[in-house]
């Protein structure tokens, strides 16, 4: 009996638990407002499942994917502010390669001048290289991550605009549409991609020793180096992964709108991704990270947005409400609050022990 209680207080002190509770609560409120919230229906015409839950997961795809990389960056004790700009860059490059000969066809349709492999490959490679550039500034230049990535945050969108001559292209190329709007196994494609990315990152970090190296460098870079870890390479790889994942998110984003938008694509994604990671229980100071927690964090952020829509709050105030709820979650997870709960449960335990 007592054993169980100690276990319980341990769980209550974990940040991930709070994140799960928060998500459950928000979903519960959604359910109370709209009893059909959890219903999922099958639409034979598109062969897809529909429902609010599916929609939440689908819409959270970009942030979830980016925040997989962000989790690693934060575990290293850094931050990557450039991810939002990289989303715009990926979209710009993809749409540039999806141009067609306007003399032959006058409306957007199923045609492209460059092979599809370039449409997908080049944005990803460029984003990975940009991530590598960030990593290089941090690892070899000794520049703090927040400043190093600020550089691409500032000029990334400029690069995207220069690449597309400041124009907004559209496309109707159907293989490209599949990425953001298609489906597989009755599920929207972004969900499938997200699942693949999450599993890939999880395998890469937890089935190899890479995750342990990241945590070790995040806690104590100097001691890690002296234990033989090549901290520089770890940093390079982590930033490159984050760049690559931002590229994937950028492709999904631009496939959803079948267009590029250098000004608004990925706007504030860096902030959302950082919040997702922190809500998920990874400390900004570096060290232990939890990919599962991050996924939940990202879902929380998206659920809140859905929730706010359901509440019928004007669109302009969405942001404020989102911030408010996130703030509550983060405060509940903060060390003083958790310590307070731990103390209370310990007290209760002591009291019941004394009564016996």
């Amino acid at each position: 009996m007592t054993m169980k209680k100690t276990d319980f207080s341990g769980i209550m002190q974990s940040k991930v638990t709070w994140a799960v509770i928060a998500e459950a609560l928000i979903l519960l409120v959604c359910f109370l407002i709209r009893p059909d919230f959890f219903s999922i229906s099958y639409q034979p015409s598109t062969g897809m499942l529909y429902g609010s839950l599916i929609d939440i997961v689908n819409r959270s795809a970009e942030i979830t994917i980016i925040s997989m990389g962000m989790t690693l960056v934060i575990a290293l004790g850094g931050t990557d502010l450039s991810v939002g700009a990289l989303v715009a860059v990926a979209g710009a490059i993809a749409l540039k390669f999806l141009r067609w000969d306007v003399l032959t066809y006058t409306t957007p349709g199923d045609y492209t001048v460059y092979p599809y492999i370039l449409v997908l490959g080049v944005p990803l490679i460029v984003c990975a290289l940009m991530g590598l550039f960030n990593g290089f500034l941090v690892a070899k230049g000794g520049i703090q991550p927040i400043i190093a990535t600020l550089i691409l945050m500032v000029c990334g969108r400029g690069i995207a605009q220069i690449l597309t001559d400041g124009k907004q292209f559209t496309t109707g190329y159907s293989p490209f549409r599949i990425i953001g709007q298609g489906s597989f196994l009755c599920l929207p494609m972004p969900i499938i991609i997200t699942v693949i990315v999450v599993i890939a990152v999880a395998l890469f970090t937890r089935k190899t020793a890479f995750g342990a190296f990241v945590e070790s460098v995040g806690v104590n870079p100097s001691a890690s180096r002296l234990s033989g870890i090549k901290a520089g390479s770890v940093i390079l790889i982590v930033f490159m992964i984050t760049g690559l994942l931002s590229g994937i998110a950028g492709l999904i984003y631009s496939s959803r709108i079948m267009s590029n938008d250098s000004n608004n694509a990925g706007l504030n994604f860096e902030m959302d991704a950082i919040l997702a990671v922190v809500i998920g229980g990874t400390n900004m100071a570096g060290g232990r990270f939890s990919l599962a927690g991050t996924v939940i964090g990202s879902l929380i952020i998206r659920t809140i947005v859905t929730f706010v829509y359901y509440f019928g709050i004007v669109a302009e105030a969405t942001m404020a409400f989102k911030a408010l709820i996130i703030a509550v979650v983060i405060v509940l997870q903060s060390e003083p609050v958790r310590r307070y709960f731990a103390k209370r449960s310990a007290l209760r335990q002591a009291r019941s022990g004394g009564a016996k």
């Binding site: 806690v219 104590n220 890690s224 234990s227």
Partner: protein, 500 residues
């Protein structure tokens, strides 16, 4: 002669979750007295001090200062009450100047402004009382640990505290600096200040204190006058059992014709070291003696690739190898326990298991991970071999005591199965039981054919264990002596005079 009691602590009890850190401890301090507080790590010395400075709240007990009961609420409040502490591991602000550090939080004002001239003048005056003629406007980080230590003492002195607490002030000082500190302590004592002195160095206790109080596992063992208790009795009282392990240690012996494992020829780094040569035989324990800053650590760091070697060659088993980074050294089966355990050794937020497997894993590269089970086996093996006190291998390494942390780092390297193990001050700041333990382990490894380089500021340790001793001075190797025939005086003379 000590005067009246200025401080009385009665029946202090502090409860931490799960343990009683202090259980009804009494302590008193007289005016003009140096009172040593002794005990192994975890005995409750720091907790008692933290209670006095208001960092920890006590659950029971009374603190009476000058006949009045006080309830310190925090370090700031304690300072106002006249209790000033120089802590072991809490540094000053390294980027501020020496003078700023002395006066931070209570700058003298003139016409509503900070009076910089006054600050610098008074800081200079204070430092010169300690016979330190330094530029007080330079940032603190510019100076050695010793001077940094003096700065925090100067701070306490200037506050005109009634009680000065020195928590392990000497652990990073060399012999001369320790003497300097003692002079200052005696001066302060003459002026009527009561000093609480915590140290692991037994000689220092006898050199400077009037009384001593011994704690063990949160309980008071007793308070004694300095001439009441001999060293052996003291240690026995501290540890709670007879301590003859340390006196039964056998020096590492090298067989004739043992091959040379590590050889360095005329190595030098970019700034400090010019030209060092040495050779290390299989199973040999080589001591590095010398003052702080004599180049002992720098040489070790070069051998391990922690700093770049720009001149000279390093050979392992007769083969020339290039060591550009620690990873290369680990590949060549070198191992290095650094001096600053907290900064360079332990990875506090990770578990003991992860800390131990780190070096093995990094040699393998991250693409060849060890399974969880392998890691656990490895960790459990070394936890039991080294006697690391922990419930299981998942405990955070940062939560262990200093001695146990040191053992975890040692385990990390033993697990990597090294040919050459370099230990930089492995026994600093850990209690006497753990010290003996680590020396014993070192010597056992030598017996198993590992070659050890042992750096220490404590000459008796070096002389007790080393086969050969290299003496360094002003970043040069000045002598190489045989461990079995030399004495402390010999070494001290060489260090002082610079020649064999």
């Amino acid at each position: 002669m000590p005067g009246k009691n200025i401080l009385e602590m009665k029946g202090i009890t502090i409860q931490f979750p799960g343990v009683k850190a202090l259980d009804g401890v009494d302590f008193s301090l007289c005016e003009g007295e140096i009172h040593s507080l002794l005990g192994e790590n975890g005995a409750g010395k720091s907790t008692l001090i933290k209670c006095l400075t208001g960092v920890n709240r006590m659950d029971e007990g009374k603190i009476i200062l000058d006949g009045r009961e006080i309830h310190p609420t925090g370090p700031g409040n304690a300072i106002e009450l006249g209790i000033s502490a120089v802590f072991q591991e809490i540094n000053l602000c390294p980027n501020l100047s020496v003078a700023e550090n002395i006066f931070v939080g209570r700058q003298p004002m003139k016409h509503g402004q900070i009076d910089w001239n006054e600050i610098n003048r008074r800081a200079e005056e204070l430092m010169s009382r300690f016979h330190l003629d330094i530029d007080v406007t330079r940032p603190l980080s510019y100076y050695s640990t010793a001077i940094q230590q003096m700065t925090s003492i100067a701070r306490a002195v200037d506050i005109q505290a009634k009680i000065l607490i020195l928590d392990e002030p000497t652990s990073s000082l060399d012999e001369n600096e320790v003497q300097l500190l003692f002079t200052v302590m005696r001066q302060l004592k003459e002026s009527g200040m009561g000093i609480i002195f915590i140290t692991h160095f037994l000689d220092q206790i006898y050199a400077v204190s009037d009384r001593m109080t011994i704690l063990r596992n949160g309980h008071l063992v007793g308070t004694y006058n300095i001439n009441e208790l001999g060293k052996v009795e003291l240690v026995t009282k501290m540890v709670g059992k007879d301590m003859d392990v340390i006196f039964s240690l056998k020096r590492a012996e090298v067989k004739d014709g043992a091959e040379i494992v590590l050889k360095a020829e005329h190595i030098g780094d970019a700034s400090k070291i010019n030209d060092i040569s040495l050779d290390l035989r299989k199973g040999e324990l080589m001591g590095f003696a010398g003052l702080l800053g004599s180049g002992r650590t720098e040489t070790a760091e070069m051998l391990f690739g922690a700093t770049k070697t720009v001149r000279g060659d390093i050979f392992i088993d007769g083969e020339k190898i290039e060591i550009k980074q620690p990873f290369d050294a680990i590949k060549a089966r070198l191992a290095f326990c650094p001096e600053d355990r907290k900064r360079d050794g332990i990875i506090g937020d990770l578990s003991i298991r992860e800390n131990i497997m780190l070096a093995v894993q990094s040699r393998k590269g991250f693409m060849h991970p060890m399974t969880r089970q392998e890691q656990e086996e490895l960790a459990d093996k070394y936890i039991s071999i080294l006697g690391i006190v922990t419930p299981d291998c998942e405990k955070k390494a940062g939560e262990l005591s200093g001695g146990n942390q040191q053992k975890v780092i040692l385990a990390r390297w033993m697990a990597a199965n090294p040919k050459v193990l370099i230990l930089d001050e492995p026994t600093r700041g850990i209690d006497i039981g753990a010290k003996a333990e680590i020396q014993r382990l070192m010597l056992e490894m030598c017996k198993d054919g590992v070659s050890v380089i042992f750096i220490s500021s404590e000459l008796d340790e070096i002389i007790r264990c080393s086969t050969r001793i290299i003496i360094m001075r002003d970043r040069e190797k000045v002598a190489e002596v045989d461990g079995s025939t030399c004495t402390q005086q010999d070494i001290l003379r060489i260090i002082a005079e610079g020649a064999a």
